[in-house]
Symmetry: C2
Subunit: 410 residues, 2 copies
């Protein structure tokens, strides 16, 4: 066995920040990763780093950037990013017709969504240098016999070790046979693009490790390593960030103001986690922050301000971040009311719930009710409690919904 030079051990250690390498061996996978890095260097063959993209969900949020930032690290070291648009899977949808979350997309929709995805991704890494592929290109070409050969590589018991399958089977909920093919297809992608490392969220553990097994079954001597990145919590610090909870989700397309405001709303206990997963702030600085928070040597609000500025700057430039920060401070110093509130003309008397929906302050009347019940809706600073309240024309008061939404009703 070749000796691994310390340079690559160091590089591997850097790369595993925030990440879990699988298989982890006795050293957390550092040795195997370092060996791949050294081999790539010595043979002048960049590593092929795989990431699968789901074109059915093209709206990216900060949670997605955790993996993308790791890709960027590899890219900076000269390795090749291979992005796989899951076109084959997206075009199948759910043939059993039972899942509404798996609508079948047309080829055009897939292409359109993939472009949206890449545009957003370009905010984090150099997409032009990446290899963009679509797994329909090889999966749709598999013949009947090739597909069955693929299926022959895995057993039912193996599939059933995947958490969600095991859970559904135990609960007597149906699992259609074709669902076994989604992990198989993702695994076969690793064969098709000959990946050396696959990145994924911790929910991808089974699928990515299967990729390793399938590569081996198809004769690859040194199959891919897996790097699992953590799932980012939403701004409530509890549930993982997801479009399902829009109020705790920061989209890459959010305005500078929204992004900054949402970041300022995170609980203190996840400040350094956000720094670690979403910025380049170094290990020493992170430890210092942890100590400062613990000993109350610093107001957490100041750290959040720094975090919010750093991240907002990444997506909206320095000017955008400066302006967002300024606005935020104004809101706070003006007792929560900013100075640049838009005038909204009320033409005819309107119910408060309808108005909140009309202004896009909430998504539904249900949400409006809940917000009022929680005391989150105010008129000139006074809480509204009556849901049947009618707003007349020419009221000339400031309506506030939640912490950051304002309108002057005229």
């Amino acid at each position: 066995m070749t000796e691994i030079r310390s340079e690559f051990i160091e590089q591997a250690k850097q790369l595993t920040r925030n990440a879990e390498v699988l298989p982890s061996g006795n050293d957390g996978g550092i040795g195997e990763l370092a060996a791949k890095l050294q081999y790539a260097h010595d043979t002048q063959k960049p590593l092929r780093i795989k990431l699968g993209m789901d074109p059915t969900r093209p709206d990216l949020h900060l949670g997605h950037t955790v993996v993308m930032r790791k890709l960027k690290e590899f890219q900076k070291l000269g390795h090749k990013i291979v992005l796989i648009v899951g076109g084959a899977t997206a075009m199948i949808g759910d043939p059993s017709g039972k899942s509404e979350t798996r609508p079948a997309l047309t080829k055009e929709q897939v292409d359109k969504n993939a472009n949206t995805y890449l545009e957003q991704m370009a905010k984090v890494l150099d997409v032009t240098d990446a290899e963009i592929t679509n797994n329909a290109d090889w999966l749709h070409k598999l013949s009947f016999m090739e597909l069955l050969q693929l299926a022959g590589k895995v057993t039912v018991a193996q599939m059933m070790t995947r958490d969600d399958f095991a859970k559904r089977y135990a609960e007597g909920k149906p699992i259609a046979i074709h669902e076994f093919f989604y992990p198989l297809m993702q695994a076969y992608d690793s064969v098709a693009i000959d990946s050396d490392i696959e990145l994924g969220g911790t929910d991808q553990r089974f699928n990515t490790l299967l990729g390793r097994d399938i590569q081996t079954a198809y004769g690859k001597k040194y199959p891919q390593l897996v790097m699992m990145l953590p799932l980012l919590e939403g701004t409530d610090g509890v549930v993982k960030m997801s479009k399902t909870y829009p109020e705790h989700c920061i989209s890459l397309t959010d305005s500078a103001k929204d992004m900054f405001g949402k970041l300022m709303s995170i609980p203190d206990n996840i400040i350094t986690r956000y720094f670690s997963l979403l910025t380049d702030v170094g290990k020493y600085e992170l430890e210092t922050m942890d100590k400062q928070i613990e000993t109350k040597a610093i107001n957490p609000r100041d750290l959040k301000m720094k975090l919010a500025h750093l991240i907002t700057e990444e997506y909206h430039g320095k000017e955008g971040a400066d302006k967002a920060q300024e606005d935020f401070i104004n809101v706070v110093s003006n007792k929560g009311i900013p100075d640049d509130i838009e005038d909204i003309k009320i033409d005819a008397e309107i119910n408060i719930l309808d108005l909140l929906v009309k202004l896009n302050f909430v998504q539904s009347k249900g949400e409006a009710k809940r917000l009022i019940q929680g005391g989150g809706v105010k008129l000139d600073g006074e809480k509204i409690l009556d849901m049947s309240l009618s707003i007349p024309s020419g009221l000339n008061k400031v309506l506030q919904a939640g912490k950051r939404k304002f309108a002057k009703l005229v």
Copy 2:
């Protein structure tokens, strides 16, 4: 609902002799079967009766003829037999490489075996009037998406209701994912050939009923009925007839003498079962025989003689059956030694085990040993017990192995 005329109720009752119809409903499926028969008659559209053939096992035995005789009944009523050579499955074999019983066959081997199969089948029914198909013709053309759509029609839990899957899963034995496709393929065959009735042994219950479900999933309003035929016991009356136990298996290619002899060896308790499953003897006659055996009004040997003659005649003609019967009687009247024994010249002293193998009386020395241990090897009627016995040249005695193998050693 159309009223079913009694003519077709009667026909359905005739056809269900020995068979179980699924779904059985409250009337054993008679009503549904009669409805199909009547509809076929009234619309002048013969029913399409499906039988799958496994080209990996082309050697047919009497057990196979139980289903084939049922096909013949439908054929006589003017319906269409559709035989499906399982080419697609045979050409896949076992991609996991774990099953030796599923070797992958080439297209040429499949065709050759299918021909052998059909030649033997022709001894029972009119193969020239049947539609011969090969499921490779449609299965190999399924695209990736069509195949996944097919897989989407069935759940893992459904598959696991198949006895052998359930058993293996419970025992922790591997089931490769592709194995789920064998029943799915067989089921899809029913869609492809648009079958009205599928025949099969009782071990085909799951697969054939799945065909019904899959036809429905693909939009067929009146999916196929299933007719399950019993598995025939071997001549020991215990284990199902199979090539695995050649001594209890009667091949369609057996000589008249062997066929007759083996049939004479069956135990009394399965005589009427053999009559019922393997001959046209009517219901009344069967009941009479049952009574005769029960009241000892007849020597069962005489009934067996009739059975053996009937069946042997079917495969070897009247002359062949007569000759076989005559030989059999001679053997018995000569205290078990027939008169037309071949002379075998012993050139040099030879061990008894080696001699038995050389004469093809047994397949191996192991079988020879077991036969001697069981007292089944005799010299001029005296049991041989010494396995190291040497047979010299010019012994001039009759060697007997088992009940029906003889040679005069000279």
